[in-house]
Amino acid sequence: SRARRGRSRKEMSTIVRRCDGGAERVWQASGGPTEHKFDPYDFNGGTTLAISGEDFVMVAADTRMSSGYSILSRKVSKLHKVGERTMLAAAGCQTDVVALVNTLQTRHRMYVHQTGKGMTTTALAQMLSNTLYYKRFFPYYAFNVLAGLDADGKGAVYSYDAIGSFQRVPFSASGSGQSYVIPLLDNILCHKNRQDPQPPLTPQLAVEFAKEAFVSAGERDIHTGDAVEIAVVTKDGITTETFQLKQD
């Protein structure tokens, strides 16, 4: 073609728009096959925690959203209501978390229209697992913890991996600060490796544990901080409080 006149086959061109409105053709030597990398995931940080009790469940998550070394927001909620009495706390890639939550909430809404009832916590737990496994080969980058009251009114916490493997557990922590939170709670909540009597777990005590865990995790994990949102789910409803953490 006329544009290529006099140029070797090894040269490629691109049209570059100039800021004055004009355009020019820029030639450069092509060095062979170029690989374009598709890197769809970003890690937005954060830590989540859920503790189940006799007739309640406490779920907490920090409110910092980061990318690399930058803070994108100090006030993003990682707690999402998905059923009447069920909360999903998820850290990881924020866009995947939001997409996942929207999917779950939409499907729950359809369930309510079709059956006239809300989904139970156990049913939601299974639905979340199925939804995650559906994208087994392009996963939701979300570290989920589902918390709610089971059919007997007892607190239920379900812990997930990115592709849907789940298990009911007494407490669960996930996200960037999980390595700091889990050993602490193993000791002070579950009294592992100690033989002094364990006090009964009340909602107030669970909230104290959450604050202690997040303050400690915030000391050592750069992605955890700013504030922690703590929600307590009982048969009477959901109460939320926000506790300020360090902002460094």
Binding site: N193, Q195, L205, E208, E212, V215, D221, L245, Q247
Partner: protein, 307 residues
């Protein structure tokens, strides 16, 4: 192994010496320096261990990694004011996304009239500044005069360029001498800039935005300290690699001496935060909480020594 760097003659002092040669305890690092008199020595780095480290990483169990060198993350900065120079630094050291040290000191002594802030790999900044500090003292003993800031800069840049950036030390060097107050920025590859205000480290953009807004020529000391403190705070609160406290060092032209203000400001005291909620009682295990599985008592027949 191949020796791509030729050693300048007579520059023995600048080479790191390891007692057992180039393979000593270097499992953490990627390369070691050949000592004098060793097989194939000509100075520079030997990269033999890189292949071995790569093989080692491949044999590790799924999901675990070799530990990363501790980097300081960091916000460091300096400003020249009417009567000297002010240096500032945060105090967080990170290894990956974990805070390894909440209160490390990043402003290093080079000479009574010269101090240096360091960002990058913590070991590199510590050892490089200590080495050059030692060289400056020997030079002072040999010349009988005060160290010049430009001498410190030249010693640092000559060493860093020789290591081609593998010594990951990004420095803000400030001091006063007979020629006035000077502030330099030194990059790991060996280039330098002489400027009235500089910032380095992962929080350098946050700090520089504060400097660009607030810097004026010939500030007085209070304003300069305040500006540096605000710049470091910008890094502490907006950069995840920086945090905790702000250290300040002021070097005054009049005296040729420095005032170190370690932990000049501590805006992130966790004690204050912990006072805001009721801490769980089970944090403090009572005596007897830990099961004693076995008791073994050994008595050492200790006699006091007569000297």
């Amino acid at each position: 192994g191949e020796q791509p760097f030729s050693e300048p003659p007579g520059d023995d002092r600048s080479r790191a010496r390891s007692p057992s040669g180039s393979s000593s305890g270097a499992w953490r690092g990627m390369a070691t320096v050949a000592g004098p008199g060793e097989e194939g020595s000509g100075g520079g780095f030997s990269f033999e261990l890189c292949a071995r480290n790569a093989k080692l990483a491949a044999t590790l169990p799924q999901g675990s990694r070799l530990p990363a060198a501790m980097k300081t993350g960091t916000t460091i900065c300096g400003v020249v004011y009417k009567d000297g120079v002010v240096l500032g630094a945060d105090t967080r050291a990170t290894g990956g996304s974990e805070v390894a040290d909440k209160n490390c000191a990043k402003i290093h002594y080079l000479a009574p009239n010269i101090y240096c802030c360091g960002a990058g790999t913590a070991a590199d900044t510590e050892q490089t500044t200590a080495l050059i500090s030692s060289q400056l003292e020997l030079l002072r003993l040999s010349t009988g005069t005060q160290s010049r800031v430009v001498a410190a800069v030249t010693l640092l840049k000559r060493m860093l360029f020789r290591y081609q950036g593998h010594v990951s030390a990004a420095l803000v060097l400030g001091g006063v001498d007979v020629a006035g107050a000077h502030l330099y920025q030194i990059y790991p590859q060996g280039s330098t800039g002489k400027l009235p205000y500089v910032t380095m480290g992962s929080g350098s953009l946050a700090a520089m935005s504060v400097f660009e807004t607030g810097y004026r020529d010939d500030m007085d000391e209070a304003d300069a300290v305040d500006l540096v403190k605000d710049a470091i705070f910008g890094g502490i609160f907006n950069d995840l690699g920086s945090g905790s406290n702000c250290d300040i060092t002021i070097i005054r032209s009049a005296t040729g001496l420095a005032e170190e203000r370690r932990n000049f400001r501590t805006p992130n005291d966790v004690g204050q935060l912990r006072a805001l909620y009721a801490r769980p009682a089970s944090l403090v295990p009572p005596p007897g909480a830990t099961a004693i599985l076995e008791t073994q008592v050994e008595i050492f027949d200790a006699q006091p020594m007569d000297l």
